[in-house]
Symmetry: C2
Subunit: 194 residues, 2 copies
């Protein structure tokens, strides 16, 4: 009976380990995602960053145009250069990396800036959720629609002028200080009609 | 030994059942999400729709302004009225419900239409992922930026003129015909610099 119990626990143990490897469930990740401002300063691996951006590229786009590109920065010197022109980038000094999600109107449905921005936004939300799912922290720092911030990001990273650097997403190991907010408001849902 | 194996299987079985209840893991949901055009015609419960929209409201917004509202339609007559002005709403005849995610510039950071559209887009992506996580199918039908489609949606649902009906998201039980696309493109990632 003891052996039996041990065998059972081993099996259960292995299932749990596998589940943990394939990451957390969707609803708990959606509701535990928060804008992380406090990072430990630890780095994020290239492999993890690639996995996060791969999730970004799984987002839908209008007429499947995928009008986006992604710039990834991990070097401290370059992160500091970005920070110099982004007054809103609190936490970047301890982030392990940043991902700049770029919208490309020329590649979008109807060459529309509107569609490019929406499509790049959906990719960005996937990136934030993937980051949370891996136990990392993310934070969308706005570049668009601020002309000065976009110009700065373009200059530091060599981004062409017809490409829109939508945001600078901080990615890093969270200290655990930042907590999610419950933003559910029943009266924001209209059933049947406005 | 037979009893031992049975006990092990029972324990493993119960773990799996629990995992299934708390929904699927984030990465598999992100990568299995697809735009569903083929629905069975089955209805979607109010409880599930509320859970899906709750996930939408967990998305981040600029300066936490949450400049959004959601209109939910489940009545066939109203769905048909919406379909009449949406040439792009393939599949709506068999969808169980639609969710219209509305952007409210007046409530957004800096009263900016840009931020309102981005924030409502992030909520919409959460809605699409939550739908997939529940084993349902979703499909973003564009309303914005088409003036004629927005006008039609506003008229059918009584949405104020200063509110932007961003999309009409079909929600329903998928037949299983629609499959996800692998959209990963390595050359869309720029490491270090554009």
């Amino acid at each position: 009976m003891v052996i039996c119990l041990m065998a059972s626990l081993l099996l259960v143990g292995s299932v749990s380990a596998k589940d943990s490897e394939i990451e957390k469930d969707t609803f708990s990740v959606i509701h535990s995602r928060k804008s992380v401002k406090s990072f430990t300063g630890a780095s994020v691996s290239i492999e993890n960053l690639d996995k996060i951006i791969r999730a970004g590229m799984a987002a839908p786009t209008a007429v499947n145009k995928q009008p986006w590109s992604f710039v990834v920065v991990t070097e401290r010197k370059q992160l500091d250069a970005l920070a110099a022109g982004l007054s809103n980038a609190r936490g970047i000094n301890k982030a392990g990396a940043v991902i700049i999600v770029c919208a490309e109107p020329e590649k979008a449905n109807l060459h529309s800036k509107d569609f490019a921005i929406i499509d790049a936004s959906l990719a960005s939300e996937n990136i934030l959720l993937a980051t949370e799912a891996m136990g990392l922290g993310g934070h969308w720092i706005a570049s668009y629609p601020y002309e000065d911030k976009m110009k700065h990001v373009r200059t530091v990273l060599g981004i062409p002028t017809d490409v829109i650097p939508l945001n600078v997403i901080l990615v890093g190991v969270p200290t655990g200080e930042d907590k999610p907010k419950d933003k559910y408001q029943k009266d924001k849902i209209h059933w049947g009609k406005w």
